[in-house]
Symmetry: C2
Subunit: 139 residues, 2 copies
């Protein structure tokens, strides 16, 4: 049957757990982002999607939300294109194929690629993360 009165949905719980007030906008965006696994969105694509679903959310809020989710560890930012930022619902260790002509990102599971021989960083610096981007083109 339907939701009981006390049910708030997984999205709400997830947001609360992340220390974010579950507003109508955040719940809607989280619903779209985390319904299916492993999504890669831009602010604009997510705004188009939520708007297309008949929900009114400003682009500024989409930007705010993407950054807050990232800060909270729910998303991670992927830098592959000089023109726009991508946000990834897969926060685990993994890499990407990137098809620049279509702005498409495809996950490569973390265990798949092995990076060996990374030298020690210069004194005073420590490694934050190692990103691998496999740039592909239409054949």
């Amino acid at each position: 049957m339907g939701k009981t009165l006390r049910e708030k949905g997984k999205g709400t719980v997830k947001l609360r757990h992340a220390g974010l007030r579950p507003t109508r906008q955040r719940v809607e965006l989280a619903g779209l982002l985390f319904k299916s696994c492993d999504r890669h969105v831009t602010a604009e694509s997510l705004h188009d999607e939520v708007t297309g679903a008949g929900v009114k959310v400003s682009l500024a809020t989409v930007y705010n939300t993407l950054h807050q989710f990232t800060e909270a560890g729910l998303l991670r930012q992927v830098i592959v294109d000089a023109a726009r930022s991508y946000f990834d619902t897969n926060t685990g260790d993994h890499q990407h194929f990137f098809l620049e002509s279509e702005g498409m990102l495809i996950d490569i599971p973390g265990e798949t690629i092995a990076v060996a021989g990374v030298p020690a960083p210069p004194p005073g610096l420590s490694i934050d993360r190692v990103d691998v981007v496999v740039r592909v083109r239409r054949t």
Copy 2:
């Protein structure tokens, strides 16, 4: 003992060989870029540098030139920061450390890092290049 009349300098030769007319601006910029090896510049940093050297070159020309040099294979573009584009005088196979807080790129020679296990791209796509960015932070 100075240059003879027929001497035009290496920069000019390099530009001609790349099919680019050796204008005053291009010769100046090429001089700064290729005097020492392995430089990483942004349009703004290069503009500041050429301006600081007392040479008048517009920012638009710096952008034009960086793209033309890249097109000609004299530079390669490096995408590591959502905020700005870097251009690299090292066009060979190599990877980078990137210190985001200071916008600093450091080369890692191509033979140093080995990337294994890159899966075959999805049908219809072929690999263009594999970029590795080792993101570092101040300790």
